[in-house]
């Protein structure tokens, strides 16, 4: 009972601290004379696009019913046109091509488009990075010196140089050489970078599986690939799932660096919006929140998977 009360107290303290920090930020922003303008932000996520509806014929606007304007031509023919928001009054005379009104539809704004690009390039990169990581991770523990050394060189080089520099190298050198699009070059650079870390995660995972598992499989007559595919990798995967999820989250965040090659992902989109709105605080907070939604979602997915896989061990 006492314990319960204690946790309640500390939880309340937690919320108090969070609110305090928020208040502090608010006060600080007052000092630097910043005008908050949160109203503009939603329109950079989703905006209502209007598109003009023109009259197809010459005539007179006769009526408006069920979202349709009726236009009567000189010859007495009545034409119906779908218009959500008419701007002409009944009785108005129109020529063909005159605006009757407009329809509105919701379109994703630049930030949401940027988020979509971030997710798209991250998914492509994750798939490639997993393949690279799996192959080089297996090469790293192979007894063949060629394979082992190749993967070691790759891993050390990638981990020893900044991602930003690698992105430039891939984009300007390899990308030009093979005539890659921005998207391909960006996805490839990210995958090569994260692949090296994934290789190490996979190597550690495989080596953590007891030798007896391999020995029992060998004794049953299984070959290397069967053992990897059916015995070692499924068990290793489960063990490295948290580390892999962490790496995927890193990848999503690292994709923000792709803005330097003018790939309009979330960060680049944020910069563009800031340039046109002069509301840097609101926009960057929003961008951060969007990244967080994705990475936290991934983190929840990881927890869910871990719990589901936990059943059999």
């Amino acid at each position: 009972m006492n314990r319960k009360k204690n946790t309640l107290f500390w939880n309340l303290a937690f919320f108090a601290v969070i609110i305090g920090i928020g208040f502090f930020i608010y006060r600080a922003s007052l000092k630097i004379n910043y005008t908050w303008n949160w109203r503009a932000v939603p329109s950079y996520l989703v905006y209502k696009a209007q598109h003009e509806i023109d009259s197809p014929v010459n005539g007179v606007v006769e009526g408006f019913k069920d979202g349709e304007l009726s236009v009567k031509t000189i010859k007495g023919k009545v034409i119906y046109v779908k218009v959500e928001h008419p701007i002409l009054k009944i009785g108005a005379v129109v020529n063909a091509g005159d605006e009757l009104g407009y329809n509105a539809s919701y379109k994703p704004g630049p930030l949401l488009m940027g988020l979509y690009m971030t997710i798209k390039i991250s998914v492509v990169s994750i798939v490639i990075a997993l393949a690279i990581g799996l192959i080089t991770g297996l090469m790293r523990i192979s007894e063949n010196p060629l394979l082992k050394n190749l993967s070691t060189v790759y891993i050390e080089l990638v981990r020893g140089t900044p991602l930003l520099v690698q992105i430039f190298i891939v984009y300007f050198f390899i990308g030009t050489l093979f005539n890659m699009t921005r998207f391909i070059a960006g996805a490839f650079a990210l995958a090569v970078f994260e692949g090296a870390y994934i290789a190490e995660i996979i190597r550690a995972g495989i080596q953590s599986i007891p030798k007896g598992q391999t020995e029992a499989s060998l004794a049953l007559g299984m070959n290397y690939f069967q053992i990897m595919r059916h015995i070692i990798i499924p068990q290793a995967f489960k063990r490295v799932l948290p580390a892999l999820a962490g790496q995927f989250i890193s990848l999503i965040k690292d994709s923000s660096l792709l803005s330097v090659i003018s790939l309009t992902e979330l960060t680049k989109a944020g910069r563009e919006v800031v340039a046109s709105t002069f509301s840097p605080f609101e926009v960057w907070f929003t961008v951060a929140a969007l990244y967080f939604v994705v990475t936290y979602g991934l983190s929840l997915l990881d927890r869910y998977l871990e719990r589901r896989l936990a059943g059999d061990e």
């Binding site: 598992q213 004794a219 049953l220 499924p234 068990q235 489960k238």
Partner: protein
């Protein structure tokens, strides 16, 4: 191809040194006939496990050769996976697959190695799970089983391959005492059915009852070999006498 008459396993002058310099086997020679039950005894570190593992080439040898079912398994050109499928092995620490159910444990190698259809593999798996007495646990994962039950799964997994030979490496040493009898009963049953077996064990009662022949090893060498009566009742060497006095 070598014709070795009745012998299904022939080891000739096998030597093995581990990379750390430990000489684990010295000129070990042994022939095992079809249907024979050979029990290997000896102090810890005498090379029993190493010898057993050279028979299915989980350990390579430095010199000498081993012929299993007329195939020279120590020849580097031999296709090991094929002959290994004919040699069942049961380990001290079970080595069941924790990510597979009991049934899947027993089915997997049947489908991958023996290329049996799922249905057939399942039927054979159930046959052997019933034989070792855990058919009711077929949907469980190993983590929910006792040591004795895990070892039963491991035995069923090996038997389901229809091996010509079974190797047991201290199959009961890691078990709680109350589990030991059940596993030994299964092994006795297999011996009675005429399975060719090499058994490393410290269970002298089992050795006396089930063995056709007992091999005593010490310091990587076979010191004495004979029927249970010869080994237990009329040991010739001082080393064996001393070993028996310690263990009995």
């Amino acid at each position: 191809m070598n014709d070795n008459g009745d012998y299904i396993i022939v080891a000739e002058q096998v030597n093995k040194t581990y990379p750390n310099g430990v000489k684990a086997l010295r000129d070990v020679s042994l022939g095992v006939k079809k249907g024979e039950v050979v029990v290997i005894v000896g102090a810890s570190g005498s090379g029993k496990t190493t010898f057993l593992r050279t028979i299915n080439q989980l350990e390579t040898v430095d010199s000498g050769r081993i012929i299993v079912d007329n195939v020279e398994i120590t020849d580097p050109k031999t296709n090991l996976t094929k002959i290994r499928a004919d040699i069942g092995m049961v380990f001290q620490h079970f080595n069941v697959f924790p990510h597979l159910t009991v049934l899947e444990n027993v089915m997997l190698a049947q489908t991958l190695v023996r290329k049996r259809k799922k249905e057939e593999a399942k039927q054979i798996a159930m046959e052997f799970l019933t034989k070792v007495g855990i058919e009711d646990k077929k949907e469980e994962y190993p983590t929910n089983l006792s040591g004795g039950q895990k070892q039963r799964v491991a035995i069923a997994r090996a038997l389901a391959m229809h091996p010509k030979i079974m190797l047991f490496d201290e199959a009961t040493s890691a078990l709680d005492p109350e589990m030991v009898g059940g596993i030994l009963d299964i092994m006795k049953q297999l011996a009675k059915e005429g399975k060719t077996m090499i058994v490393v064990t410290h269970e002298m009662g089992f050795a006396r009852e089930a063995a056709d022949r007992i091999v005593y090893m010490d310091s990587g060498k076979i010191i004495e070999m004979g029927t249970p009566e010869e080994i237990f009742d009329h040991p010739k060497t001082d080393r064996l006498k001393q070993f028996l006095s310690q263990i009995l």
